[in-house]
Structure formats: structure tokens, C-alpha cells
């Protein structure tokens, strides 16, 4: 077994010497502070309050998922965390730094993958390293390592359009992980995949994340997915989004979808969401 294969199996291949996280925060402590966040979209003839006075603390190393009725502003929260959208008021602190613009301390995985079609799989994964100014050989080595972690080392030279949906999302995941950001933001990453691929991806994601101390903020439509993956689930109300409830799940992983407590919790969260979805 080669060094890298060994590393993938044990998880030591997910290294963190480079791109050392800038904060001294230990796992389990609060890392991200969302304070009184509001967002209003103004157009000529209407004002839409998407988010009002939203506060939440996110702990380092946890996988927190956000569920809520359609159009409640889940994605807006994530895009503000990414620095792609500016809040109307309130602020987001990561460690002790205020987050105002995108930065390499946060990686993002998009629902529609957002891969560059003119780049090969490897070159897509290398993108963030290129931006960071890493030399060519090192870049390639590191990209290959992460392609190995997501199981796509054989496809390094392929073009994006030659891959299936699940493979594309694994490339996107490798691309987000490769710079070793403190936080990974995932915007319905498996929403475009079929149910079977989706389950495989969830299991794969857990396996990868087991080896890292990255904080994951996960937006999803699927309550089943949220219960399967999360340390905590944030349930939002309909727009303007407020926190309805935060559910802590401390069950060991991998979780059994058929177990009575799993189905009971899923049912309860679904019912909560149902109440929010009533058309008014």
C-alpha cells in the first residue's frame, strides 16, 4: 500500500500544515458568531425582508445544517457567510475577524457544482491553490491527494462534462477542501443528485469529515439528510427567517435511517416545517 493510499485510509492524508487556520479556537468552542443579521432586498416597487435579526453561534468542527421552508432565506444566510452578499445590518464574526468579503478561510460547495468546464478535473481542484500562489508541482501533488480522497484519482485528466453528477460534486468537494479552509459552506450540495447517489455522497462526506476538524454549514431541503449528517439542525421559520428551533443530535455515526429514534425525529422536524409551509 502506497503512502498516499495509507494516508487516505487513516485520514492522515488530509493534512493541515499548509494553510494553518488563523484562529486558536479549539474544537467544540464557538467559532462563528452571527449577530443580529438582517437582509432586505429592495427593488423599484417592493421591499423583501428575507432575514430579520438572525443570530446564531456555530462551534468549531461541528456539522450544522439549516433547514426551512422554500424561499425562507437559507441560501442568503450562506452567501452572507461566504461574503458574496452583504448584510443590510448586523455582522458575522469568524473567530474575532469580521467577515465582509469572500476569503480562502471559507470554502463553498454549490448546488449546481460551479465547476469550470474549460479546466480538467485536476485543474479545477488546483484553482484555489493557484490563487494562493502555490508552485506548480506542489499544486499538482496536493490536488492529486485530494482527488484520491474523494476517489477520483483516475479521472484527474478528464473534462467536467465527461463526469456524472455525483462525480462532479466530489470534484467540487475536493476543490473546496484542498485549500484546507476553516469553514466549508455547502448550499444544497446533493440537491441535484438522484436519491442513490445522494446517499452514497452523504456517507462519503461523513467519512472525509471524520478526519478533519473543519466546520461545515450545510443547507438542505432534505430533513432526512439533515438528521443523517448533522450535529445540530437549525429549523427556520418562513420569511423573514427566524430560528424556530435548534435540534442537537449526539447519536454516533453512521446513523441508521430505519431506527425508531431516527424516523421519529425526522417526522417531528417535518411536522415543524409543515406548519411553516402553510400558504397565507
Amino acid at each position: 500500500m502506497s503512502e498516499i493510499e495509507e494516508g487516505v485510509r487513516t485520514g492522515s492524508a488530509v493534512e493541515s500544515e499548509n494553510f494553518i487556520p488563523s484562529s486558536e479556537i479549539k474544537e467544540g468552542e464557538d467559532q462563528i458568531h452571527i449577530r443580529n443579521l438582517s437582509k432586505t432586498y429592495v427593488t423599484e416597487d417592493s421591499e423583501t425582508v428575507v432575514l430579520e435579526d438572525f443570530s446564531l453561534d456555530i462551534r468549531k468542527g461541528e456539522l450544522i445544517s439549516i433547514v426551512g421552508p422554500s424561499g425562507c432565506g437559507k441560501t442568503t444566510i450562506l452567501r452572507m457567510l461566504a461574503g458574496l452578499v452583504q448584510p443590510t445590518s448586523g455582522k458575522i464574526l469568524i473567530g474575532d475577524r469580521e467577515c465582509t468579503a469572500p476569503g480562502s478561510d471559507r470554502g463553498m460547495v454549490f448546488q449546481d457544482f460551479a465547476l469550470f468546464p474549460w479546466r480538467s478535473v485536476r485543474k479545477n481542484v488546483e484553482f484555489g491553490l493557484e490563487i494562493a500562489g502555490m508552485p506548480k508541482e506542489q499544486r499538482r501533488e496536493r490536488a492529486d491527494k485530494y482527488l484520491k480522497i474523494v476517489g477520483l484519482e483516475k479521472f484527474a485528466d478528464h473534462r467536467i462534462h465527461e463526469l456524472s453528477g455525483g462525480m462532479k460534486q466530489r470534484v467540487a468537494l475536493a476543490r473546496a477542501l484542498v485549500t484546507n479552509p476553516d469553514v466549508i459552506l455547502m448550499d444544497e450540495p446533493f440537491g441535484a443528485l438522484d436519491a442513490q447517489t445522494r446517499n452514497l455522497m452523504q456517507a462519503g462526506l461523513l467519512k472525509i469529515l471524520d478526519k478533519t476538524d473543519q466546520t461545515i454549514i450545510f443547507i438542505t431541503h432534505s430533513v432526512d439528510e439533515a438528521v443523517f449528517l448533522s450535529d445540530r439542525i437549525v429549523i427556520l421559520t418562513k420569511r423573514p427567517a427566524k430560528i424556530k428551533e435548534v435540534v442537537e443530535i449526539d447519536w454516533p455515526r453512521p446513523r441508521d435511517r430505519a431506527s425508531p429514534e431516527f424516523t421519529a425525529l425526522r417526522k417531528r422536524i417535518l411536522e415543524e416545517l409543515e406548519k411553516e409551509n402553510v400558504l397565507d
Partner: protein
Amino acid sequence: MATILNWTYDENNRYHRWFRTTVIAITSLVCFVFAWWDVSLLLNSTAIPTPLETWNALVDLVVNGDSVTGGRTVWAYIGSSLKTFLLGFLLALVVAVPLGLVIGYSKTIREFANPVIEVMRPIAPIAWAPIFILAINYTVGPILVVFIGIFFPVLTNVVFGVQKIDPNLMDAARTMGASPVQVFYKVMVPSAVPYLMNGIKVGLGVGWMCIVAAELYAPQLGGIGYYLSTMATNGLWPNAFAAIVIIAILGIVTTGLAEYVHKIITRRMGMSNV
């Protein structure tokens, strides 16, 4: 024999599709030649020679060169036209591509440039020919006419390409720490390439129309358009028609080449759907 008679067309077989297209194209050209022949015989005018007369003049031109005015080969005429064409084309690319990228990128620059573009674009490039040739000179004039013909299709396509870019790709680049300049040349420029190729395809067609017309005003250049006008003014209609056939063939070759390059590049870039 039986196998040929039992032949059935299979839409999923690329060779069948290719064969079908070729047969229809050849039939179309044959019909055209016969129609031309009919018109020529019916009008019985010397100004419209029959395809056979044209063919003979064409063979004579290719084999013996220009036997009427003496000396020059057909390749000299073609070479002169191609040179003008190529210079105009390169000039158009050098100017239109950066300009298109910038206009597509910045709303302010777009709003500034659009009125000028909209005023200039509807003017037939050929209308500039007498002005450029008289105001500048007969070498640069035709190049500028070709330039204008190719410039606008390339420019508008690049502008369109930059604006059509998937905003998610730019967001993805930004979340990986890319600066606005890096987003521009690592994301916007490559995603505009298929549109650029499309603009080149259209531009080459327009440019080819321009070159011949411009040469009518610049006899000193000695291009194929000059040969055409000399033959026509001397009433040598079969020779004039031979020149038209050469122009048509060169036009087909140019656009065919552009089509091919477009296909290769978009396929290599994984963007054949654009």
C-alpha cells in the same frame, strides 16, 4: 447489389447522416448549375455565360494564369486578396477582443460605448471602401474595410459572451480568494471564448464579402476582385464568372475552416453546448 438495394437509412449512424447530407448538398449544387444553364440559354445574353463557358475560363485561368492582361497567375490574385483579408482579420481581433471583454465587464463602459456602436454597426462596411481608399491609400483602405466587417460581429459576440457567463462560476472563484482581476482573466475570459469563436465565424463571412467589394475600388492591389472588375469592364463574361466561382470557393473554405476550429476549441474546452 442486393445489399445496396436493401440499404436503409439509420439516423443514429454518423456515416449515414454524413452520406445523407452530402447527397443532398451535391443534388442541390447540380440543380443550381442546371438552373443557371437554363437561365443563360433562355436570356441568350453574353453577360450570363453558361456553366460550361465559365468552367473553360476557370480552367484556363488556373492553368495558364491571366492570359488576357498577361503574366499574373491566379495564385497571385488570390494571394493578394488573402493578404489583405488576413491583415484586416488580425487587426479586427486585436481590437475587438480586448474591447469586447472590457465592454462586457463594465456596465459604465458599456453604456458609454453602446451609442457609438449602435450608430456605426448598421453602416454597410463596403460603404467605407471609397472613403478609406481615397482618404488613406489603396493598401490600408481595403484592410480597414475588412476590419470593419469582422470587427462588429466579433465585438458583439464577445460582449454577449462576457455577459452570459454563469454568475455561480464567478462566485466560486471569489470564494476561493480570487481578486476581481483574477476573476476576469481566469473565469470571464475563458468563458467568453466559445462566443468569440462564434463571432469569428460570422465575421469571416462578412469580411469575405467586404474584401472583393473593396478591391473594386483599389485596382492597384491586384486582388481577385480587381480581376473580376477588369474582366467585366472588358466584356469577358466567362472570365468574370470564373472569378466569382473562385471567390465563392475561397469563402466556403474560410468559413468551413472557422467552423472546424470552433468545433475543436469548444469541444476541447468542454463547452460544445454554447
